[in-house]
Amino acid sequence: MRTAVRTVQVSLRALRRNVMRSLLTCVGIVIGIAAVIAMMEIGNGVSTLNQRAIASLGANNLLVMPGQAASGGVSWGSGSVMTLTPQDCDAIIRETTTIRAAAPEVRASGQLVYGNKNWIPMQVTGTTPAWFDVRQWPIGEGAYFTDQDVRNSGKVCVIGQTIQKQLFENEDPIGKELRLANVTLRVVGVLSRKGASMFGSDQDDLVVAPWTTIKYRISGKNQSAGASQSGGTTASKTNPGVNTLNNLYPNQSAIPLYPELSETQAADTPMAVKFTNINSIQVGVNTAGEIPLATKQITDVLRERHHLRDDEPDDFQIRDMTELMNTLASQTELIGKLLLIVAMISLIVGGVGIMNIMLVSVTERTREIGLRMAVGARGAHILWQFLVEAVVLCLTGGVIGIAIGRGVSLLVRTFARWPTAISIPAIVASVIVAATVGIVFGFYPAWKASRLDPIEALRYE
């Protein structure tokens, strides 16, 4: 133990004799480690930005679709049965842990009219305000519609940039009223621009309104269902014993839309419990990594709600954005590989620098080595001394490098506003790598020194 301490002391003394050269020797390692740390931290930032960007494309999103119907062996394709209800959506929000937000989707189509202009939007979506969160779609002007609007089937909508351009041109659309399939909707907000989707369709060409508005006021198909639905809701309220899935509105405590039926009235007009079906549910998962778990949780919730027996197939489908997820994964991998290559190159350069100087040092100090051997140093002592010198050089370089790397990363954070983050694993790895480089590249010179013949070494000029 004391020998070890003394060996380190001897090495430190030897390094102190040549402070300038020791520092310059470190430079290679300093640059290498600084590069690794800075790249790791900046890379983390870039990766975060990247993930955010890809997430905004919907990489973290799941789409729950109703199942398929088949008759006589002919499948009607996905969505051909209506098995999803807004209550399913509420249950998913309530009963899963991995979900950021979920929103029902109801689709419609129709012509938009404003003044003397008209336009047929690509997409008319009825949903809840959570949808904007799921889609990560910030508002450009105005505001989103509210949960209150959803409860009241409010005649409001949020439009995309394309619609603003087509119908309003230079006018401010906020507060203006446009007609969709002959229903007047007040524009409360304009979404920010999202551009084309991955498949080239214009994502900004859309109208978003409360799903109740779309369902009950615009898409005529299920209007009667909606009417009877309201009856069902009140019925379920007055007769809690009745098994019903249809809580019409997301917020149960809301003011009832229709006058409540008395018990007698309800008994007089029995109505079948009917579903308010929705086209799909958009689910935003917390992180891309949790998608498999979220998928499982949603499946469990829906199977239970739909009273499916174990041997029955799912009456819904959950789709994830596999392509986007793969892109995300490959991006992260790419950045990781890039960093690794940069790190390897700079560390090898630094290591060769160390080896070079150590070899010079061994040659230059041949007499010293001879003397140390003459006074009783064994080969192992000499080996350790030079090895410790190399490792100390590398570790010093490593520490300086970590400081510089952190500094660079802070500069980038301050001036480029990238979300760089301190990476403890990178620091730990750098220290280990620096020591390893010291050992690997210091070993040969140290070994050479330890093999010197004391007689020759003492005579060396």
Partner: protein, 250 residues
Amino acid sequence: MKPAQPPSTDLIRLHNVTKTYHLGEVDVPVLKGITLTIDRGEFVALTGASGSGKSTLMNILGCLDRPTSGEYWLDGQEVSKLSTDQRARVRNNKIGFVFQNFNLLPRTTALEQVTMPLTYYTGKLSERDGRKRAEALLDRVGLADRMHHLPSQLSGGQQQRVAIARALINNPPLLFADEPTGNLDSRTTKEVLEMFRKLNAEEGITVIIVTHEPDVAAVARRNIRIHDGLMESGSFDERNRAAPALEVAK
């Protein structure tokens, strides 16, 4: 153990030591059978022309090299067959070296120079005791006021005295000086030789000086002369017969 217990007066006993170098196919015999005894407390000069095998004998005596054949008893221990590491241990414990070119570590204070061999001495001396001993030794060689000086701040004589202090740090019974005055002027040569003489007389340390200078050899009480791989004079038997001065005169 053939010669059961070597008499305690012997510090060094060589028996028919030879050394042969192999240069490719050719064997070059350098030492052709040296038999020699040096007692404790002797002051010996080792002389010989260059190429005589003097340096080789010195290396073997200093445990830096191994003889090709023969026996070498040092302080009661047969060292001719020891491994490299074992010989390093012997050098550390039993032999102090002083060199012609001082061999001080650059940019290292005199005190650190002197404590340096302790780094490898896995013995009983603690850091503080080692330091104390080094200070005492520097004081002894007259450098008490220069303990923290660097070699570049010391004269040649002072540097050699630092080297002597370093050689003595492990309290060796044998002090080996290889041309210790070769780089010194006549005044400092005298100083240094006086130092050796004092150490020999007062401490009873056996001193072997390797030199080619007759007046340096004259200081020693016994002069071993090597010629062509053999001892020409100074063998054990005749040591008390001839006065050293006469040897030199011859």
